[in-house]
């Protein structure tokens, strides 16, 4: 017999509580007032200075929060799958392991919402694991299936030839394709910390 799916509202409340407790003391600004079912209707009233942030509860999202605020934007936290669909621009940071992140996304209904949001071609920035999760699968503790938005797999760097993995440290960039994402990064060292790399499969249309 089929079990009813866990109530997404409850699941979100847990995620929110996790987050609100440790941050309340040091938080400089009031948290977003809008929450709950009403968030479905907020899109029309959202302003150009708001970035929606997907914090699934297993990563250092604070550094991303600090960076977004540093750039002068407000943050709206995703509390339900509907918040994803209502976002004007969505940032999905991920420090964490692939498998446990997919478990959370699937359990909370976020996985489907993310697929739909990206299918609608809405502005999206996936950072680190937030990018890797878009692929078909990852070798990390797996293979584990991903969101399947981008054809391809996420593979571990091969350390058999003496390559040190994880790749950690400040390195220079070789920019092969002009992109807004790397504006201002040219000529600077950037910090890497990863064991995996995403390998897209080139389809006929690209």
């Amino acid at each position: 017999m089929l079990q009813p799916p866990p109530p997404p509202q409850g699941a979100m409340a847990t995620g929110a509580a996790n987050h609100a407790v440790p941050c309340s003391a040091g938080r400089p600004k009031k948290r977003n007032q809008r929450r709950g079912p009403a968030s479905l209707s907020v899109r029309a009233s959202s302003d150009a200075n708001t970035v929606t942030l997907l914090d699934y509860g297993a990563g250092n999202v604070r550094s991303v929060r600090n960076a977004i605020r540093h750039l002068g934007f407000n943050i709206r936290d995703v509390r339900s799958p509907e918040d994803i669909l209502a976002a004007d621009r969505l940032v999905f940071p991920g420090v964490g392991a692939f498998g446990s992140a997919m478990d959370v996304l699937t359990r909370t209904g976020m996985a489907d919402a993310l697929r739909e949001y990206i299918r609608r071609d809405r502005p999206f920035l996936g950072i680190c694991l937030g990018l890797q999760l878009l692929f078909d699968s990852s070798e990390e503790n797996g293979p584990v299936s991903g969101l399947g938005v981008i054809p391809g797999v996420v593979r571990r760097f091969d350390s058999s030839e003496g390559l040190i993995v994880p790749h950690i440290g400040w390195n220079a960039l070789q920019i092969t394709k002009d992109t807004q994402l790397l504006q201002g990064a040219d000529g600077h060292h950037v910090y890497f910390v990863h064991s995996y790399h995403a390998l897209p499969v080139r389809s006929k249309s690209t």
Partner: protein, 238 residues
């Protein structure tokens, strides 16, 4: 601690690693916290990585004895949820001279300068609780075990060299950095810019750490970086 971390992470945009107290514990009110919960609190407060010391030594000893990965150690639990790259294991070994490698069951190195009784070899005994207690495991054995258990990086100290300013323990760092494929951060003993280039020339260390000489302003960080650039080591200069 969490408050310091929160404030620091708002201003500091280099990656932060937090260590200390990452183990299971029960607070005054009787609430039990797993090491994973403690680490999660650190991550949510702005840490990019956490560092484990004593707990990793006990986990490695248990693993080497039984050959079984229980999945229950803090090292395994945290790396499973946050990824290997988020878990640093800090090793605090002490040099133990021996006449011959056969004297001990641990990996020894032929030392570059002999021991007080003319010994040609040494092994590096791991310690816990800030160096107070010695354990029956060597730095080499520990490094290999924690790599298998999910550590993403090793911070390699040396009690004998720490604060001496006489240079890194090249014998130790070479032994450990040759034994693993995860990055090793050399620590303990830096006292001059040449010590940094030496450790990169003679070992496979991925990074070198110093604290005292920078805090006391004996050696400027910029001087170290400029020296390394001259020595052909890639360094971030901005």
């Amino acid at each position: 601690m969490l408050e310091v971390l929160r404030c620091a992470s708002e201003k500091v945009f280099v990656p932060l690693t937090v260590g200390g107290g990452i183990r299971d514990f029960t607070d005054a009110s009787g609430r039990y916290y797993s090491s994973l919960e403690v680490a999660s609190e650190y991550f949510r407060s702005g840490a990019d990585k956490i560092s484990i010391g004593s707990d990793a030594v006990f986990a490695a000893e248990a693993y080497l004895q039984t050959g079984v990965k229980t999945g229950k150690s803090s090292l395994e639990q945290i790396s499973r949820v946050y990824g290997n790259q988020a878990v640093v294991v800090s090793i605090d070994p002490r040099r133990v001279y021996v006449k011959s490698p056969d004297e001990v069951q641990f990996k020894t190195v032929k030392v570059s300068s002999k021991g007080p009784l003319g010994e040609d070899y040494a092994w590096y005994q791991c310690t816990v609780s800030g160096g107070r207690d010695s354990r029956p495991i060597g730095a080499y054995e520990l490094a290999k075990a924690v790599e298998e258990l999910g550590a993403g990086e090793i911070l390699l100290n040396c009690i004998d060299c720490d604060g001496q300013g006489c240079g890194f323990d090249i014998d130790l760092i070479k032994m450990v950095s040759d034994a693993v494929t995860i990055p090793v951060i050399a620590s303990s003993g830096a006292g001059a810019v040449e010590h940094f280039s030496e450790v990169f020339e003679k070992t496979n260390a991925s990074a070198a750490l110093a604290a005292g000489i920078f805090h006391r302003k004996e050696v400027p960080i910029l001087a170290v970086k400029e020296h390394l650039v001259d020595a052909g080591v890639e360094v971030r200069m901005q």
